[in-house]
Structure formats: structure tokens, C-alpha cells
């Protein structure tokens, strides 16, 4: 098994801790002038998303985690698994509810997502930064009403609910930023 020494620590490094795959999100070198050096790190559990603090003595080694992020196309959902395909090798993998998590509300067939694989198994799925989804449910707006703030809720074809301007109608396709969950603009068909 490959190992890393503390001198190789940097953000994004994938390591094994307590039998789970983690990614380093913050790495601080700490050393009193005439004392022992430590690496104080914040690490994110790639299965649960939880971030914890860990300290290593300078020179300690950790096991590398076999983690890869791959772009894959969302094919379909069979009720239990979400199926993705690699765009060039055509290899398919099935991600469970746990791995897809919150991303499920943005998934539209054919969209390209970032799938995190650990030992070849999908453990998390990130949607593209922007998605284009059709409005399936929203209160009727007054045609031409471009004034007024606030907006109204609209349900999109994937089930996501987004705040939209009052003039948006059912059937319109919207561009949404998945990182903030906010309406960006209308998309001309």
C-alpha cells in the first residue's frame, strides 16, 4: 500500500484514516522553535462529508487512499441505483442513495457529473456547477411583471425547489447554480 509522510501533506491529498477515505482540506505546519514539529490537519471524510481535526507528529506516515474523481454521464435511475457512464470507456457504475445524496435533486439524464470513486466504488457524486431544468410547478405570474423583489417558489423537473422571479411560467427552462441553489437565468429553447 502506498504511504505518504507528513512532509508530503497538502490540500486535496487522499488518505486513509480509521478505515475511511479522507481528503486533506487544511494543512498547518506547527513547530515551537526548539521543539517537536507537528502537522495539524483538517480532513474531510469522503463518505460522510464530515470534517474533523487530526494532528500528526512530523515524520509519521499515513496510508494513501485509492480515491479518484472522474467525470461521468448520468444515464438513469432504476429506483435503487443511479447509473453513470464514462464518456470515453463507456464503463458503467451504479451509485447508491448514500453516494448520490443531495445531488439527486439536480440530476437530469445526459448531464456530466463528478463521481468520486474509492477502490473503484462510487462514494459521492457532485452535480455540474450549472444545470438547465424545466419548471413543472409554480404559481402563475402576471405577464410582463418584471418589478418587485421576493420572487416565488418553483418546482423543477427533478424535484428541486428554487426561488424564481414572478414572471417565470410553467414549462420554461431555467439555468440554476447548483452550488448556491439559486436561479441564474432563463434558457432560450
Amino acid at each position: 500500500m502506498a504511504t505518504y509522510s507528513t512532509s508530503e501533506f497538502k490540500n486535496g491529498l487522499k488518505i486513509m484514516l480509521d478505515n475511511d477515505p479522507y481528503s486533506i482540506v487544511e494543512n498547518e505546519f506547527v513547530k515551537p522553535g526548539k521543539g517537536q514539529a507537528f502537522n495539524r490537519v483538517k480532513v474531510k471524510n469522503l463518505k460522510t462529508g464530515r470534517v474533523i481535526d487530526r494532528t500528526f507528529k512530523s515524520g509519521e506516515t499515513v496510508e494513501a487512499a485509492d480515491v479518484m474523481d472522474t467525470e461521468m454521464q448520468f444515464l438513469y435511475n432504476d429506483g435503487e441505483y443511479w447509473h453513470f457512464m464514462h464518456p470515453t470507456t463507456f464503463e458503467q457504475i451504479a451509485a447508491d442513495q448514500n453516494a448520490v445524496g443531495d445531488t439527486v435533486k439536480w440530476l437530469k439524464e445526459q448531464d456530466t457529473c463528478l463521481v468520486t470513486l474509492w477502490n473503484g466504488q462510487p462514494i459521492s457524486v457532485s452535480p455540474p456547477n450549472f444545470v438547465e431544468l424545466k419548471v413543472v410547478e409554480t404559481d402563475p405570474g402576471v405577464r410582463g411583471d418584471t418589478s418587485g423583489g421576493g420572487g416565488k417558489p418553483a418546482t423543477l423537473e427533478t424535484g428541486a425547489v428554487v426561488r424564481v422571479p414572478l414572471f417565470i411560467e410553467i414549462g420554461e427552462v431555467l439555468k440554476v447554480d447548483t452550488r448556491t441553489g439559486e436561479y441564474v437565468s432563463r434558457v432560450k429553447e
Partner: protein
């Protein structure tokens, strides 16, 4: 390599402040009759400190055997003490020093130290002079002196521990209570040899962050095991006559009431080397010329080393050492 890779790390504003700081330091010492000296960066000997890793290069002659290993100094201490033995009187130096394996928000493997020695001073008098220097550089607000806490009082106040008397088991339990993640290699090592590692862990993870609100603080009377080249005072609990200056929880300076006993110094160097050997570290040659100078006799004195890059960080109000360097080591 990107097009901007050649650019400096520090802004012009900071480099100007840095130049002003250097000028202020030189004026301070000129006024007090402390002589500026330059000692070699390269030496046949190196520090034996198990927590320091020296850079090594090889000389190709003439004038010395081929492939003579020469070490870059981690501090100018050894040759400066040889100057004291030669009767130089009070001396100071501003120089680059080199420590392999140290890089981070407050560390660059190549950094700048201001180091000065005062024959006839104790570490307490040197703390006063340190304060005067900060005053001269405009870093002290108000009239009050910088507060001082002993290492024991520091641990008692901030961690409810007696660093000298509590067992390593107790230190371990307190670390856990303070939600400090104890490194794996320290988990089952609760012997005396691990005491300093636990003290350093609690100091860096709990006490130093708690000092963020304290502008300046002197800590003095360190554990005897952390004496380095300081005298040990044989109180009920022996302590090292060593002090440090903290600024908002960051170490700025390290000072000693210097050890002048040649035999004790040689003994400490030898002990350091066995510890290095036990840990599988390199064994650099110890400085016999320093020992010889101590044998010839140096006057009782106190010395202190100040990290000038970090001092500049405070003056310039930046929070990464790279912002004070023309070029940090990765862009040099």
C-alpha cells in the same frame, strides 16, 4: 511554469517597512555600543539538536579535502560565542539561517535572525533590553511593561497542568480533555521520554491559540529537558534559564542565560547525538571549536535570537511569512 512565476512574494509596502525595521535595529545597537559582526554561514560542525535538521553541502577544494561536508548554520550562536571567548564584548548579527524541513505560515526553510549577546547580563536584564528594542521600533503601545509568566504558570493558567510535576499520563489525559488530537505515534508512549512531546503538543494546540488576544508576553524558566544551551538553575525543580517572547501566540524570540561550562555543553551535545541516533536521524559533527572556546572561558552572558521575518509580519500586519519575503523558497 506560469508567466507570473518570477514576481516577488512581498508587496513593496512591506519591503519598505522591512528596510525601516533593519535601520531601526542598527540604530538601536549603534547607540548602545553593541558591535555588528558577521560570522560564517558554512561550518564543519552543525547543531546536535534532535529537533533541527541542517542543510549540508560539499566543498571541492582547494584548501581542504575533496567532498568536505559543510553545514549551513541553523543559528549563528556557535561562532558568536567563540567571539565572546575572544573578548569581543557585546555583539549582534542579522543573518540568514537555514532549517531543513520547516515550511508553513510562520516558517520558511531560509529565514532571518537577529541574534545578540550581552556579557554580564542575566536573561532578565536581556528581557528588559528586548522590550526597549520593541519600544524603539514602535511596536509597544502604552507605558506598561510586557507581562511575564513562568512556563509553569503558563501551563497552570491555560491548561490547569503542572508541566514539571504532573505525570506524562496526566498530560495525555488533559490533551484528550482539551480535544487535542494526539498523534498515533504518541498514543501509547507515556514514558518520561515523551514528556516534552506532550508539552509541545499542548503548548502549540491549546495554549498558543489562547494567547492570540495577548499582544506581547514573556515566558521564562523552561523545563530543564528543554534547556538547549541555557544554564540550568537548581531550584527545588531544576529549570532552564531560558525565555521566549510571544506576540499574539506566535514565538518571536528565544533567549538564554548562556551555559558557560564546557564539560556540561559537551555532555549535552553527546546526549543529543545519542537521541538522534536512537531516532534514526543523521549524526552531524559536533562543534569542538565551541567546546574549546568554552574551555578557554566565556564571560557570564545572556543571548537572544529574534525571528525578523515574524517581527516584520507584525509591523506590516500580514498573516503569512511569505508576505514578508522578497521570494519564498518555492519561488527562489
Amino acid at each position: 511554469m506560469q508567466d507570473n512565476d518570477w514576481q516577488p512574494d512581498a508587496e513593496i509596502r512591506v519591503l519598505r517597512l522591512r528596510a525601516g525595521m533593519n535601520a531601526g535595529i542598527r540604530a538601536f545597537f549603534a547607540e548602545r555600543g553593541v558591535l555588528e559582526v558577521e560570522t560564517p554561514v558554512l561550518s564543519h560542525a552543525a547543531t546536535t539538536d534532535p529537533n533541527l535538521d541542517s542543510f549540508c553541502s560539499h566543498y571541492q577544494g582547494p584548501g581542504a579535502p575533496t567532498d568536505t561536508p559543510l553545514y549551513l548554520h541553523t543559528s549563528p550562536e556557535f561562532p558568536m560565542k567563540r567571539l565572546l571567548a575572544a573578548g569581543m564584548g557585546p555583539i549582534y548579527q542579522i543573518c540568514k539561517v537555514f532549517r531543513n524541513g520547516e515550511a508553513g505560515r510562520f516558517h520558511n526553510p531560509e529565514f532571518t535572525l537577529l541574534e545578540w549577546y550581552r556579557p554580564g547580563y542575566t536573561h532578565r536584564e536581556l528581557m528588559v533590553e528586548m522590550q526597549d528594542l520593541l519600544q524603539a521600533l514602535g511596536l509597544l503601545k502604552g507605558e506598561e511593561g510586557i507581562p511575564m509568566l513562568s512556563y509553569a504558570a503558563l501551563f497552570r493558567t491555560y491548561a490547569n497542568l503542572d508541566p514539571h510535576r504532573d505525570t506524562v499520563q496526566t498530560l495525555h489525559e488533559r490533551a484528550r480533555e482539551l480535544a487535542i488530537s494526539v498523534p498515533d505515534s504518541m498514543q501509547n508512549r507515556l514514558d518520561e521520554a515523551s514528556r516534552d512531546a506532550y508539552l509541545d503538543l499542548i503548548l502549540t494546540h491549546h495554549i498558543e491559540p489562547a494567547l492570540h488576544a495577548t499582544e506581547f508576553l514573556f515566558v521564562y524558566d523552561y523545563p530543564a529537558s528543554q534547556a538547549a544551551l541555557a544554564r540550568i538553575r537548581n531550584d527545588e525543580i531544576p529549570v532552564a534559564e531560558r525565555f521566549e517572547l510571544y506576540c499574539r501566540g506566535i514565538e518571536l524570540a528565544n533567549g538564554f542565560h548562556e551555559l558557560t561550562d564546557a564539560r556540561e555543553q559537551a555532555r549535552r551535545f553527546a546526549r543529543d547525538l545519542s537521541l538522534r541516533e536512537a531516532r534514526g536521524q543523521s549524526i552531524p559533527p559536533m562543534d569542538h571549536r565551541l567546546i574549546a572556546a568554552l574551555q578557554a572561558g566565556i564571560p557570564p552572558c545572556a543571548g537572544v535570537a529574534v525571528g525578523l521575518d515574524r517581527l516584520c509580519m507584525i509591523l506590516a500586519n500580514v498573516n503569512h511569512i511569505n508576505a514578508t519575503l522578497t521570494f519564498s523558497f518555492n519561488s527562489a
